[in-house]
Symmetry: C2
Subunit: 682 residues, 2 copies
């Protein structure tokens, strides 16, 4: 089976990369639009590429420093071969994650202008181009993650029951890159956005995406580096973490399933990739139809095919129907998470309408109402996660296999992540559509083109919000796998069972308290980093607005300068929260030791999931309450309610696009970090 | 020792009640001010008493229903005597808590006008009256709590190692009353405040506490029912919970210390009461001096005397110096918590100044900055709590006694709560001074009187913020004791050891996730309850403002109507969050059983402590940023920065005065509830 399963995974990954290349070629062959559009798009592309180049240079330096630390930790504990393997796996993981993000984004910054151009004639074609552009990202990220884990397994594969413990290095590399990619990108995008809005919309009273605003291009660059590259790295890591965590659980079941149990996650991920490809290719835009209909249809197709493949794969490799049911739990959970997020952030439902109503009495009540909604949004997702864990555990237990329960939760996670590539395609479609809207606006295209783009843009906002829900749900499950991997790893090292994390012990309780605290502190620092960077942008935009020629529209503002300032600011301000996120768990682990660190990790994860839900959903709800009012409710644009809603939207920006998504990454980072550095904590 | 220790506790409690009566008489003998002042004060008093009457009628009904449930749970599990004892202890606890709150508040609503009157001639005398008014509350609450636990112990005391498990009923009664007292009072106070501000200050543009605003009296009533009665019930419960939790740990140490270990918490609490009385009587207001100097001096006197008594008490009852050191940890922690809260909420330090700076760029940046500060404020308190637990545990271990570590944490808690009566006096001083300020404003007293009151009012705001920090710190420690009590109780019932709460087990992890979720959901519901109730107030005030005679000041607005509407609204809207808080843990316990419930409880507590810190401190910082700007910074009153800061202040209101304080109570309620209903979860 080993001889067949691993090549199967590699072949499917390579096919996915070929399909991605084919989609990329089809996108790139489209018309690049009017010279004005091209001018705007070129500025965005150059800005995004400049940021990414500098960002990944910074990340590379930090990553290499940490590689040395990892090497030293293992080397000093006397495990030379492990030191080399883990450090190399780590660097390989970091490299794959970075490459996947960079390639995906480089297609996205070319798909935007082609979408804008297509919108001149057909909204269906515009959807096709932007979604295919997103699909390139989705396929490359998922395939690279799968290929990376498989190749690492293959390279190290002398002893298949030892190897998964070394591959955690790969996962940690991916986490590390993801943290800084999401944090840096998130700070960039919101600093530019807040800066552009506060000086442009609020102080100078000019519309959003107005050509006179020197921060608009930076704002559009931000969509790519934050939403596209950042979330890509996030889900790259989720896939890697899930595969690794499930493989480690597979090791525990080696006596039952042999190598099949270890390779099962990779094979199922490959099957999921096939399902996603079919789903992606099934999406066809239609003129005058709601783009969400086509996107949702593609999603359901993917989910159903994934479920069928799940049956085949489970029976083939495990021969136990109960694990198929557990996998279904995960697939169903992915659908439920999307629906719940929709409920909380769509203007057709109570929460957003409540915020819009509250805007009538001013900004204060708008904010209070949004806070209340954000806090409330933890309830159903937490219950769903809880039910999914309990159900899949129970189903796994019914399999009749010893410790089948935990493997059941692993299979549920695999099920949830099997639709990952499709979800990522929807996600990256968001910033492409958003950018295309910006390009249409800035190139002063006719009203009809703008209208077409508005609808696509609005669908992009929805998919962005939905995929954040999916990302946090899958992160929760993936991290739960990693807990068990951590405990297995510790047991491995201390050569005795480690099965209880006793919260009633004082050090464990203190670890748990500090784990939850780190989440809040990190969110605080991420939000503050946006404020600080936005201040630089505000100062620069105000300075440029002093030139009357810029305000009159006769002189082009200096877009590049704002891009440059935002880049430098974002990279500078991402370092402190990033380093605290890495250093703090190490300090706890070294002082309070492995059991307390497990408490730290688990309760930190719980707090992280819940706070991320709050920040993402409150931000999304504020955003859509504003859009709802702009569509004419409560007095429409320019009314007092609208002014209040704009304030709520601005408050939500750093929550939903910087702190929230960075928390997804943080909780996975904590899990992979503790796994990799485990010799320090014994 | 039994013969001596318990009478000592009872005698000290009675002395404290006598001193309280003496202080009350001295306050009541003061001048009641001008007829105009009396008119305002009468309206406040009538409103507060009407609310309290209706509130406690509602609470009584709910409490009796629950008493029946408690009785049934024990009766069905075949423990008839326990059923009667627990239900009676529960009702007695509820009764004592209610009485303490009602008596304290009835003095406060009489001290306010006397403070206002004294401010006509002397700011020192005004401080004396208001602080002594607060001291009546502080002494009565602490003494009643101590007396209640002691008498229950005495009444049930046939078997001293069984009795503490029954006294938990008393603690649960206190928790139950506290939850609704704090929630109802908190909703009332902020609904009136937000309603008065939004229509008065923002829409109609009239100053705060203006006589024309029909919601001003309701706002002043709110200070009494929320800050005074609510926080009183909160700390009544902390003291009770701490005593009970420590007594149960004392049972575990019965072989070592005998009855002394069980009575130790009560005796030390009595000693603390003596120290607090000395501290209270040492406070003497001086004209033209900062009131905080006198209040802080009194606090340090109390802390030092408490430390000396701690040495005496520990050597007398336990004869082990290490527990004295553990107690010192608690006393030091109380000081540190006050300092940290001061740092985060005082305008002399970075956090508040940062928020004030951010107000320059508008409401959105003000809010973002406040959110960031709020999230940040979890860091140092969490580390302090962690260090206090680890240190006192280590000190307890050094005592050389088996399971001395946990008893060490208990002694630290006792140390922290030994200054409780003094802290409560400072706390209740806040709303009295605030009310007196309102009375001075509404009775249109001369400028010099207002200036005197402003300084006292500002000190009151500071002490209110500080005592919230103290309340959450002491709640954290008290609840940690109750965890262990819960585990002992379960072990007792299942007749085998129960020492591990294994977070790595799926049901426990799910319980933990849902525990944290309940905290966020509860906060959401509490905030929404304020919004809803405020809407009623807004509608009514707008209605009254339509009468031009009211706006011209020639006709008195209908204060009573607003009071009535707020009362009905607050009581109606407190029921849903209250019932969820009680029902949800029961559901979890019944379905997932006792170990998962322990996870629920512990992680819920962690989340509760941190979220309460965020809400309290962000709210306090927003409030003080506004006051700082009003004092002339960033353009002063009426500037754009001020407008932004007013919005931040309004957002902070339900956070710091409703949701935050209710969370202190909630985490204690969860702990006592699980303890009392433990037979359900086996």
């Amino acid at each position: 089976m080993f001889e067949f399963a691993l090549p199967f995974v590699v072949i499917v990954s390579v096919i996915a990369l070929i399909v991605a290349a084919f989609l990329a070629r089809s996108v790139l062959s489209q018309d690049e639009g009017t010279p004005k559009m091209r001018e705007v798009a070129d500025a965005i592309r150059v800005g995004a590429e400049a940021f990414i180049k500098r960002q990944y240079s910074t990340i590379a330096i930090l990553a290499i420093i940490l590689a040395v630390v990892i090497f030293a930790v293992y080397f000093i504990s006397g495990q030379q071969q492990l030191a080399i393997d883990t450090a190399l796996a780590y660097l390989f993981g970091a490299f794959c994650s970075a490459m996947a993000g960079i390639i995906g984004m480089s297609i996205a910054v070319r798909a935007n202008v082609r979408t804008a151009s297509a919108a001149q004639t057909s909204s269906g074609k515009a959807l096709d181009i932007s979604f295919r552009g997103g699909a390139v990202s989705g396929l490359i990220i998922t395939a690279m993650s799968l290929l990376g884990v498989s190749l690492t397994f293959y390279a190290l594969g002398a002893n298949p029951t030892e190897t998964p413990f070394i591959i955690v290095g790969f996962g940690f590399g991916a986490s590390f890159v993801a943290l800084f990619a999401q944090l840096g990108g998130g700070i960039y995008t919101k600093a530019a956005d807040v800066g552009a809005d506060l000086v442009g919309k609020v102080e100078a009273g000019i519309p959003e995406d107005d050509v006179r605003n020197p921060a608009t291009i930076a704002d559009l660059v931000g969509d790519n580096v934050g939403d596209c590259a950042g979330r890509g790295a996030d889900l790259f890591e989720s896939t890697a973490a899930e595969n690794i965590g499930a493989m480690i659980l597979g090791v525990a079941l080696f006596p039952v399933f042999g190598i099949n149990g270890i390779l099962f996650p990779l094979v199922m991920c490959a099957f999921g990739l096939i399902a996603s490809m079919i789903g992606i290719l099934s999406v066809r835009g239609k003129d005058d139809a709601d783009p969400m209909v086509a996107l949702n249809r593609g999603y359901y197709i993917t989910a159903i095919i994934a479920a069928i493949f799940f049956y085949i794969g489970t029976m083939w490799l495990l021969g136990n129907i109960w694990f198929f049911y557990a996998g279904l739990v995960g697939i169903v959970m992915s659908v439920v998470f999307l629906r719940v997020t929709l409920y909380y952030t769509d203007h057709n439902y109570r929460p957003v309408q409540e915020i819009a109503d509250a805007s009538e009495t001013g900004a204060a009540t708008n904010i209070i109402s949004g806070l209340s909604v954000g806090l409330e949004t933890t309830a159903i997702p937490a219950i769903v996660i809880g039910l999914a864990l309990l159900t899949s555990y129970a189903l796994g237990t019914m399999s009749g296999i010893a410790s089948g329960g935990l493997y059941g939760t692993a299979v549920a996670t695999i099920g949830m992540l099997s639709v990952c590539a499709y979800v990522l395609a929807m996600d990256t479609f968001g910033p492409i559509a958003d950018n295309a809207g910006g390009i249409v606006e800035m190139s002063q295209a006719p009203e009809s083109v703008r209208k077409r783009m508005d609808r696509l843009d609005s669908a992009g906002n929805t998919t962005k919000a939905l995929t954040k829900g999916y990302a946090i749900g899958s992160a929760a499950l993936a991290v739960f796998l990693l807990f068990n991997a951590y405990m297995n790893d510790v047991a491995h090292l201390i050569s005795k069972p480690f099965t209880t994390v006793n919260l009633a012990a004082v050090p464990v309780f203190v670890g748990a308290l500090l784990g939850a605290m780190l989440i809040f502190l990190f969110a605080s620092l991420a939000i503050r980093a946006v404020s600080k960077t936005a201040q630089y942008v505000i100062t620069e935009v105000r300075e440029q607005f002093k030139d009357p020629a810029i305000m009159a529209g006769t002189k082009k503002p200096d877009y590049a300068r704002v891009i440059d300032i935002t880049t430098v600011g974002a990279l500078k301000n991402m370092v402190l929260p990033g380093i605290i996120a890495v250093a703090f768990p190490i300090i706890i682990g070294v002082t309070l030791k492995y059991e307390a660190l497990a408490g730290f990790l688990m309760v930190g994860t719980i707090a992280g999931i819940l706070l991320a839900l709050i920040l993402n959903n409150a931000g999304g709800a504020w955003d859509n309450a504003k859009k709802y009012i702009e569509s004419g409710a409560h007095g429409g644009k320019g009314s007092d309610a609208h002014k209040a809603a704009v304030i709520g939207d601005t408050v939500g920006d750093p929550c939903k696009d910087t702190a929230g998504p960075s928390l997804h990454v943080l909780i996975k980072l904590l899990a992979t970090l503790t796994l990799v550095l485990v010799p320090l904590f014994i």
